[in-house]
Amino acid sequence: MSDLGIRESSVTGGLGQSPLRPDGIAKSEGAYEFSSDLSADNMLIGKTLRSPHQHARIVSINTAPALAISGVHRIITAEDVPGKPTYGLISSDQPVFAADVVRYIGEPIAAVVADDEEICARAVDAIEVTYEVLPALADARLAKDPNTPSIHPDGNVIREQNVITGDVSVIGDVVVEEHYSIGMQDQAFLGLESALAIPDEDGAGVECHVATQWLHEDLGQVAACLDLPESAVRLVLGGVGGAFGGREDLSLQVHVCLLALATGRPVKMHYSRSESFLGHVHRHPAEIWMRHHATSEGILVKIEAEFVFDGGAYASTSSAVLVNAVTHAQGPYRCEHADVKGIAVRTNNLPCGAMRGFGVVQACFAHERQMDLLAQACGLDPLEIRRRNAMSTGDRLITGQVVESVAPVSEIIEGLSRMPFPQRAGAAEEHPYELPGGAGNTTRPDDVVRGIGYGLSIKNLMYSEAFDDYSTARCQLRDGIVTLKFATAEVGQGFITIAPQIARSTLGLEEVELDVIDTNVGSAGSTSASRQTWMSGGAVEAACLRVRELVYQHVATAEGTDPLVYTIDGTELVNTNTGDRRPMADVVIGLEFDEEVEYRHRPTVPLDENGQGDCHTAFAFVGHRAVVDVDIELGLVRVVEISTVQDVGRALNPLSVTGQIEGGIAQGLGLALMEEIIQRDGRIMNPSFTDYLIPTIADMPPVVAELIEIPDPQAPMGAKGVGEPPTISSTPAVIAAIQDAMNTAYGSAPHLRRVPLQPSDVAKTVNAGLGD
């Protein structure tokens, strides 16, 4: 598939090097334009009215008092949506504006457009909505009860999916079971939702500059709601301030376009932090039960599990999240028999959907906590139980799919076992900053106990279940300059850095320019599921290879030889027959080529009712070791260090890989220790960075990362996606380390089974008298 022959190329800024981000200088100088920085002459501001009720019938909406405010131009509601009234990624079940019923606190009901922010806020407050409050369905376990009334015409069950294989009656010598909970995590990207919509002069179309993860998916959904042909809607990527799954669903796109078309003027919308918590989907909270069966030697024989995912009011990507969870229930371990059940349901809670590691984060927390329980029951250490069960290439998953990807799980375990441990300074020398209480100086050094824990995971890459997953890229060669065009959303991950690297190494030309990222080229698919290096990287490589082939043909014709004799070495074209070398920059003078390619990964199939089928494309593996200091009395935790060994296939840009690893681990640490959206009766109690805490630089320990670079034969350039794995098993590693510290302090302590951890989960052990 891939041409691995030129991979050790010496072209400056080629693959395997870490050239600088093309947007780095602009970002460092404040000159880079994020979508929230955009403005236009004659621009108006839009704002959304949202439901204050979890579940209610809308009796009436009176916009007259708001329209009477000077400076208010228009107010739109469901009646003003000319096209499809609903949208959604997998099923179109979410209203652009609630028409008759609201199903969660924060659901959009109307949008105002006015001269400025202040007038917008007053107008939103002045809209009079009469509601008839309905009983709210807040408990996911109730939602699946057939006697519970449906809150949506599509029913309360979004999807059920089981994975059943082998002999489900098998019983192991050793059996461990437990219930686990995962709280609702927020993507908490820093760049809030924002967009600028500019109507065409004739009013027949609109251009929308928006921070998103998937321009073409937005385009299709937006055009349908606007009742415009896709050709009349142009989406341009506005500077994106992080995404992490939270920009995969539409938020304000349709609203802002409607307002621009309604007024004939440019309209900007941007959310505040508190509105952002309502305006995008979150990581699914999950309730998980697992029972692991093993031989007395600790060899896994059967996994039983039940997953309940609270999808909130609308489906979003709940279906894909559920499938990821049930198909990854075994973790990176061999297991012959499985009885895994899963369900994702609707409730009147916040809609949930994609977030980094979707579905696998939840499954991994449970299976890794189970592996630690099993280790304890078998009298093995945590690495040994994992070593004995480590999956390898060629093993069959519980779905029946054979793992064809490079699966270096044993190598990951060995790598982790070789990592040196950080030394704890003597209590006398320890600076308060280095204690769990931090600068607050609340911890007595004598109460600190160190713990060590491990987590391993397997993650599918790209989209699954027969989805027609592709990416488009165009390579133009003119005047010796290569120009790449793609619609791949750059959200901070650095595709705009590696795309030129791919072109340089493939073509031996150092001057590479990037065209605007917009919908004037085919879809690139979403910047999610760890897929863009593989998919859009594969598309860029394929387009560049076509251009290279045309260069070879041109030269071969001129020299009267066969194109097959040529190769590129660094920046030179080499005739392998004669040994003749010429700089590629000279060879391409006067040549013009323009090639566009759609890259597809190999097809996948849907799961059958027993969850059997080759539903995933490829897999990546990772392991984490956390070292923590725990104030056993106060329940405070300081993560001292996280080490990781990650299967990356091949690091196309080592600095970017490091960035993904460190950044992903920070989000995993956040879920372990602090990040949770707290809802009470469907209302978010902590919709701010004051109360929804994400790790600061003081919370993040040093990360020691080792990469396993075994190029994957199925991956373009051998490179696997690296974005999600760091987030997945870092969470259980941190919790396992805290458990280890508690066990050290008390001999044994209650099994930790919920994230994020609360200080009381640790401290109550003291109060229970276990510390004496």
Partner: protein, 162 residues
């Protein structure tokens, strides 16, 4: 002690230049005025309550969250934003070269905070760097490359001085 002649019309000194600010709402923050009135969008808003540091600027040499400063109270002060650093300072260059920038939304605030830290304390230890920058949230990088960037500047300045 501020000297507000007219809270809807005043002048601000930003990056060494006097700017006339007209027709603002009385309660507008310095961040809003910088971004929406003066077109200086380098300072970012990600929380607007002083928690994230994205809007960090220097007010008379002190690091502040511009979202928490009433614009009309800053008329007698000198404001420096990321645009006023001049570009390609050693701190900015180190952030670019060390991989401290991904989405970059937090970057201007962190550059202001790091610049200010190194003015106050030329050779901070790692703990001090972490403590000083703990008011600036970054969601992409996990901070490892940010610490690296600051340490790189310290090392470069140390070599330059010797």
């Amino acid at each position: 002690m501020t000297n507000i002649h007219d809270e809807r019309h005043f002048e601000l000194t930003v990056n060494g230049e006097r700017h006339e600010v007209v027709d603002v709402y009385p309660g507008e923050s310095l961040l809003t005025v910088l971004r929406d009135r003066l077109g200086l969008t380098g300072a970012k808003g990600a929380c607007e309550e002083g928690e994230c540091g994205s809007c960090s600027v220097l007010l008379d040499g002190n690091l502040v969250c511009s979202c928490l400063v009433l614009a009309a109270s800053a008329t007698q002060s000198s404001v420096v934003t990321v645009e006023g650093l001049g570009g390609a300072t050693d701190v900015q260059t180190a952030f670019v070269e060390c991989g401290a920038i991904q989405c970059g939304f937090c970057t201007p605030g962190l550059i202001m905070a790091a610049t200010n830290l190194l003015e106050r304390s030329p050779e901070p230890q790692t703990d001090e760097i972490r403590e000083a920058l703990a008011g600036n949230l970054c969601r992409c990088t996990g901070y490892g490359r940010i610490v690296e960037a600051v340490q790189t500047v310290i090392a470069q300045r140390g070599q330059g001085a010797s």
